[in-house]
């Protein structure tokens, strides 16, 4: 990989879809449009159940938030398989219930959206995943938050709260965004305590509670005292951590209730952003087809702090959040090495927080990580 031209990738950004998206975002501002909002039925499809303490719950929370818009009626269907069956469910919502905006919330629904969307130009399809590319139907949207930013904030809390200097990350799959989250968590922790090390375990499954619990137990036995889980539902990770008496950070949605003693904070999606798309569709406004962003674009959130987090740490975390929001804090900044000793960024080099090309290509773990990506670099 060529590391010398990173800064020039700002140029790449300049003509990337995100910026086009940002431009049209301005047109979404509600206020003026509110008067003309017409009644509209929206439909959410979940692969699992809404109360899964994870991915689906994050969408369920957003659905309720969006349903509070004027004239919006919410329909929901759980346990929709990621097969051709999902096409039937979408069509059924459109034909039998008159839905005009659909939120097929799982990553795996995308190919089926691509089949249904051209048949129903009067319906907007909003997909959580950011897979939209030029040439895809105009009545489809992909959106996704940079979760590495709130993970960085969790990392700050973890770095401050860890007594052993050992923290742990449990990931589901060896995928770029999991590595970004992991790196964010470690970089945040090491920004406040450069001696921190982080054990990284990849379970291989999106949902494997047994393996996840085993992973937590083995990490605790090795002295790890703060843990974050990146699986479909980190419930087991957090509950096991609480039982073992260590700290934990959340993922997807607000999980503070699972660990009243040890919960620090967590990384959350702000899927409620979908309200902007519904509003635009209702009023004939414009909308971006692809929207990726972090705190700057209000696409991610931070969970409420747990009781264990002292005021000073909270203030430090919130300062960093403001840094992301104001684009003054870059997550990947030099000097930076990976955990095999290779130089990723030289001193003075910085990766823009919205440099998708860099982020999609992340196949390394930063210095301080103990573990392997399992991928060829």
């Amino acid at each position: 990989m060529d590391h010398s031209k990173r800064n020039s990738r700002r140029k790449f950004l300049a003509d990337s879809g995100n910026v086009i998206a940002a431009g049209s975002l301005a047109a979404l501002l509600p206020g003026l449009a509110r008067a003309q909002a017409k009644p509209m039925t929206i439909g959410f499809l979940y692969t699992g159940v809404r109360q899964d303490y994870g991915w689906n719950q994050a969408h369920g929370v957003a659905a309720r938030q969006i349903a509070r818009l004027d004239g919006v009626k919410l329909l929901e269907q759980e346990n929709v398989p990621e097969t051709a069956e999902s096409e039937k469910v979408m069509e059924s919502m459109i034909r039998l219930d008159g839905a005009r905006v659909l939120f097929p919330t799982s990553f795996g629904f995308w190919p089926f959206i691509m089949k249904v969307a051209p048949k129903f130009p009067e319906v907007l399809f909003v997909h959580a995943g950011g897979l939209w590319k030029d040439g895809d139907p105009k009545n489809t949207i992909g959106y996704r938050g940079y979760m590495e930013e709130p993970h960085y904030l969790s990392g700050i809390a973890a770095g401050r709260m860890s007594k052993t200097g050992k923290i742990g990350f449990i990931g589901a799959k060896p995928l770029y965004f999991i590595f970004n989250n992991c790196n964010g968590f470690i970089l945040g922790a090491r920004s406040v305590n450069p001696k921190i090390t982080c054990q990284v375990l990849i379970t291989g499954d999106w949902n494997n509670p047994v393996k996840e619990a085993e992973a937590v137990n083995s990490l605790v036995d090795q002295g790890v005292d703060v843990i974050v889980g990146n699986t479909d539902s980190p419930k087991v990770v957090i509950e096991t951590a609480e039982r073992r008496g260590i700290y934990s950070c959340g993922y997807h949605t607000d999980l503070s209730a699972l660990a009243p003693k040890g919960f620090l904070t967590g990384a959350e999606w702000n899927w409620g952003k979908g309200a902007d798309f519904v509003r635009a569709w209702q009023t004939g406004g414009t909308y971006p087809n692809l929207l990726r962003g972090g705190f700057k674009r209000d696409m991610v959130k931070l969970s409420p702090f747990g009781a264990a987090v002292p005021e000073a740490v909270r203030a430090e975390v919130l300062r960093a959040r403001q840094g992301f929001a104001d684009d003054k804090l870059a997550l990947y900044r030099g000097p930076l090495k990976d955990n095999e000793g290779n130089v990723v960024l030289k001193a003075g080099e910085t990766i823009d927080n919205e440099d998708n090309k860099f982020k999609f290509g992340v196949k390394f773990l930063v210095e301080g990580a103990i573990g392997k990506t399992g991928l060829a670099r």
């Binding site: 929901e76 269907q77 346990n79 398989p81 990621e82 097969t83 059924s92 919502m93 039998l96 219930d97």
Partner: protein, 352 residues
């Protein structure tokens, strides 16, 4: 004639009883049963779109129901439809991939389609025939062996699609290489339902004719009626058992092939979504009669198809339709106790 009227009346009674029970369940959950049944009708049969969804659901159910119904006529309780469907799907994909070179060899793509279906049926047939062979040769209970074979089939499928057969280009979900587009079939013109539905109807008609009008069918019924008697009259029990199992498994295997060539195009865990188990319910509702299977597969398909709408309109959990299906299953099983006890349907004693 009288027997058929008896079966129809008792099954209808069982269905009504199940609906009444489910109404109680709905009342207990604070829902209006009549409104729910109206939506059940709307979602399953009420609009052309609903009917399409229903028939699409019914297609694999007809074929997997045969997997239980045909061996049942020979006195075997086979519940391996899910495994046979999966096995059929895997074999179909292998055949589809194997015949991918046909176009270059100058043969029509339909050859690939036929080969895919044949391989699927053969795969399913071999799968259930294994259970038949175990039963005949080693006395292994076929219900247990077919149940366990389901798990084996699904495990093998998951192994294949995440290992040896995996298409690395598909990253969303472990999926096998896709069969050529030309091998795939579209929908039946006019009704917009995929060809698996036609396969199902034809297979049920053939099975009915086979069991009703041939020596084989009669022999199977004798075997199912009384195995000792069949042995005494010299029927080839082993062969009949194997063939009945293979035919049933072939049906479910064809269902797997149809799911591949008409819906998925590649093997993945999406093959095992419960059509095999739904088929058991259909077979029992039909009292193992292949003609009745066509009707009951559509009925059960309609209940499944309306599940989403019930969930959305009444905020019922998606398991609600499964509760209804379970109640129907129980009522139909319980209704067996009524056979021969309703005077109306009994032959009158001849006056002396």
């Amino acid at each position: 004639m009288r027997e058929r009227a008896e079966a129809a009346a008792i099954t209808a009674g069982a269905l009504l009883a199940a609906l009444a029970l489910f109404a109680l369940f709905l009342l207990a959950n604070g829902r209006d049963p009549l409104a729910v049944y109206a939506v059940l009708w709307l979602g399953g049969f009420g609009t052309p779109f609903s009917l399409q969804a229903t028939l699409t659901q019914a297609a694999p159910l007809m074929l997997t129901a045969l997997c239980t119904a045909i061996p049942a006529r020979a006195g075997l309780l086979v519940i391996g439809g899910e495994g046979a469907l999966v096995a059929g799907g895997v074999f179909a994909v292998l055949a589809g991939l194997g015949t991918a070179g046909l176009a270059t060899a100058g043969l029509p793509a339909s050859v690939g389609t036929v080969a895919t279906c044949a391989a699927g049926a053969a795969g399913g047939a071999a799968w259930i025939a294994m259970a038949g062979a175990l039963k005949h040769l080693r006395g292994v209970n076929e219900t247990i062996s077919t149940l366990l074979l389901n798990y084996i089939a699904i495990a093998v499928l998951n192994h294949l699609v995440s290992g040896p057969m995996r298409d690395p280009a598909v990253s969303l979900k472990a999926t096998s290489w896709a069969i050529p587009q030309a091998t795939m079939v579209g929908t039946i013109p006019g009704i917009g339902v995929h060809w698996g539905f036609a396969f199902g109807v034809i297979a049920c008609l053939l099975a009915f004719a086979l069991l009703r009008f041939t020596v084989f069918g009669f022999s199977v019924d004798v075997l199912g009626g009384n195995a000792r008697a069949a042995q005494l009259v010299g029927l080839p029990i082993g062969r009949l058992t194997l063939i009945a199992c293979a035919l049933g498994g072939g049906g479910a295997g064809l269902a797997g092939a149809a799911e591949i060539i008409a819906v998925h195009g590649a093997a993945s865990s999406s093959l095992a979504v419960g059509f095999g188990y739904g088929g058991i319910l259909v077979a029992f509702l039909s009292r193992q009669n292949p003609l009745a299977i066509i009707f009951f597969a559509i009925l059960v398909g309609g209940i499944s198809a309306s599940g989403g709408l019930m969930q959305r309109r009444f905020d019922l959990p998606d398991a609600a339709t499964q509760v209804l299906q379970g109640m129907i299953f129980l009522c139909v099983l319980a209704s067996n106790a009524f056979y021969g006890r309703i005077r109306l349907f009994q032959p009158r004693a001849v006056a002396e």
